[in-house]
Symmetry: C2
Subunit: 348 residues, 2 copies
């Protein structure tokens, strides 16, 4: 037998009919004799005929593939986004081509090129940390290929985005701490130059303001790289300064964990003396002791939503190019912030 997968031609030859007829028989085209139709279908079945998507793509000028540029697949949050993209894409009959930039600008640009060469029908992108120059993205827009940004907002680009409501997430976290009775709340902040970092600081401040608690700039500590160690050091310094502290809102879970370590070592009880809330809600939040209250980001939902916006773009349903879809976070309450009474209510 012939090597490789069976084609329409193979079937046509065996049946002594034309390719056109086979093609039509395969797709229930009206004017086809039941007899031919039957014969074609049987043979297709027998040889496991599968339409050649490459040929179809060339003819239809559409590949039914969507390209994804993602900083790192290994990051938990991004892996949930990928999962959402995959599920939504598959549901709509699309395949997904993934490139990770590894946070490198050059690799991001190369990947965009590869995906454009592959003629993907659309691009879902979360830019790398290094990316400042947007020329490679502008080209995509210029050539009319639908693009949707997720998680990392890109300013000045004519494409829809899906992001998380970082302001509200931070606000909720801090408000929760206040409701628990905290008055002196420290914020372990992310780098100021990232939009998300700034948004969370804003949320922190607004929550304090709305509850008539004075904002103390000394209570906002920038943790640049968000490691555990960094947070341990920052927290140790704070605790030994004699400053009154009864709550910590960390802009990421690792930092929260570092804070918890320092707090425990200094002899304070969590949450009785100092409550702690983190951000991201990784799996380990429920595993540490005490378990960590955290702001959950809807990664899976973000992936699906980005896909949906993409399909709107592809089908020109969406006229509003500048759509920014903002997804709600959810505060997941655990032991590190909840007083006994509240915990009972949650876990009953």
């Amino acid at each position: 037998m012939k090597k490789g997968q069976v084609t329409i031609k193979d079937i046509a030859k065996e049946l002594n009919i034309s390719c056109s007829t086979v093609s039509r028989a395969l797709k229930d085209f009206p004017g086809i004799s039941p007899h031919t139709r039957q014969a074609v279908r049987e043979l297709a079945e027998k040889y496991h005929y599968r339409p050649n998507a490459v040929a179809l793509s060339l003819r239809n000028q559409r590949t039914n593939i969507i390209g994804v540029i993602i900083p790192e697949t290994v990051h938990f949050f991004f892996s949930t986004v990928i999962s959402g993209i995959e599920d939504e894409a598959m549901k709509e009959g699309y395949n997904v081509m993934i490139c990770q930039s590894n946070e490198s600008f050059e690799r991001e640009a190369d990947s965009i090129d590869a995906l454009m060469s592959a003629r993907v029908d659309g691009l879902l992108v979360s830019i790398s940390r290094e990316t400042k120059d947007l020329a490679h993205l502008q080209k995509v827009v210029d050539e009319g290929v639908p693009m949707v940004f997720f998680d990392r907002l890109v300013e000045g680009m004519n494409a829809p985005s899906v992001i998380v409501d970082d302001y509200q997430g931070a606000y909720d976290a801090v408000e929760h701490l206040i409701k628990q009775g905290c008055r002196d709340i420290v914020h372990l902040a992310g780098p100021e130059n990232l939009i998300i970092g700034r948004k969370r600081i804003e949320g922190y401040k607004s929550a304090l303001e709305d509850n008539e608690i004075p904002i103390n700039e000394d209570s906002i500590i920038e943790c640049r790289n968000g490691t555990q160690e960094e947070a341990v050091i920052a927290m140790n310094k704070l605790l030994s300064s004699g400053k009154r502290i009864d709550g910590v809102f960390a802009n990421n879970d690792l930092a929260a964990l570092g804070a918890m370590k320092a707090i425990k070592k200094a002899g304070f009880k969590i949450p009785e003396d100092i409550s702690v809330v983190g951000y991201s809600d990784w799996q380990f939040c429920s595993l540490v002791d005490p378990s960590l209250t955290s702001v959950a980001q809807p990664g899976y939902e973000m992936g699906r939503e980005a896909c949906r916006l993409m399909f709107q773009e592809i089908n020109k349903t969406n006229t509003q190019k500048s759509t920014i879809k903002i997804l709600d976070t959810q505060l997941v309450l655990r032991e590190s912030s909840a007083k006994e009474r509240v915990l009972q209510a949650i876990y009953k």
Copy 2:
């Protein structure tokens, strides 16, 4: 201007030459006048010409895409595998198309079909838990499409595989516990019907035998689903039975964590009274208290290796279809198993 991306035809028309010439000029074909060559290249640059990979695929009968079937992208281990696949594939100029089966047989079969339709040059697959019937995979082999299995071994299929040395990983873990002075080591085992579960039990037993420690079947506790809760319950039962225990080897990290919880609650010290070793080495192993010694699986390396085997298949370099590449695990020592003296040596 014309919508969509520029083609060879567009360039040919503008320059009033034939497509053949443009094609040749673009790829430094010898017999082309420097003048034509120059003109073509300038125009290509100007219009951001990118070869249409779809057309190339159709002509070359090869897509330079490799398909990946993976149970779940959200699982940390698998996300590292994906990362390895991505990096290796990109290095070789391949794109990666990913489908997650979500552990569903039906979805796995559908994904295989989609990928075969897309005419991927090869398939990297880790089968779903549900998969018993292998017909969909046999079809792939029959149609001559290279396939490589990773992580989950499939018996009776003519295709290379990459797996982790679960026997040795377990052996190392248990031997380490013995060297720490443990004599009564419990194994929280995985389900017997999975090959990996059986291999780890074998490793556990061999390590005991080689050190002349009698094997006690009561010390092997099956934890079917590997959750934390399950391990807590199993461990509680063991501890309250009055049985002497000074070491625990859990077949997965969550179970190890559960065991630690139960041990601490019962008033024992880790590692002084009871040492604990887990399996998988997730990020949280270094975050819990005490940090958890664990057997690290080389996911990233597995992804790369699977890719390399795939390329060998594609280029017919590999004549040995039944290759099984077994990757070494690495025991990552942390606090939960190492006595003071050892820890100092490690962390100094």
